[in-house]
Chain length 114, copies 2
């Protein structure tokens, strides 16, 4: 996976573990596509300090993932959801009972909210 | 929820974020039901130091849960799994097609592995 995309996803999972300032700067860099110079101007902080903060936060986010594996677990759940939705379509094709359709819809709702 | 049970569950989710020593002592206290005195003797550390470590780790685990809410999310998924398994039983009752049964079994496997 592209490193920028990976860090952006890790930010979704572990952003709450960073300080507000760290999260804001990481968000500007990885999600809003600001350059180091723009963030430096925007936050009135030196370009070097921004660079150091981003490197440090990258390391923190990767360490969290190595320990808690939330992205890995999320990807596993995503794959299971796809398999389940696919199997539900097969059931829907094989069976036209109105109660079955109702139950399938309820399962789809639960799956989509997982 | 009983505080001891809650901390034991939080240890499952966030134990990897503690140091080996912290995790060992928390495990002895919350999962193996050792007393402070027994842990003190077992680890050759003062009772007060053990008490302080446990208090500090409790606070750390609760802080992680406040930020990442893994226990809350796990309980939500658990409830969804129960609803889905219940609806699958209903489908199984309404439809005796062999392909439907096969697909239901595959979904149950996926659900149980979530």
């Amino acid at each position: 996976m592209d490193e920028r995309i990976e860090i952006s996803i890790l930010l979704d999972f572990y952003g709450s573990m960073l300080t507000d300032k760290q999260r804001d700067i990481m968000n500007l860099y990885y999600n809003e596509d600001f350059s180091l110079a723009e963030i430096s101007e925007h936050t009135n902080t030196s370009r070097q300090a921004i660079y150091d903060l981003i490197k440090r936060c990258n390391k923190i986010l990767v360490q969290y993932e190595n320990k808690l594996k939330l992205m890995e677990k999320f990807n596993k759940i995503k794959l299971s959801k796809e398999i389940i939705l696919d199997r539900l379509k097969e059931i829907d094709k094989s069976c036209s009972d109105i109660n079955v359709s109702k139950n399938i819809n309820e399962i789809v709702n639960e799956i989509n909210n997982l």
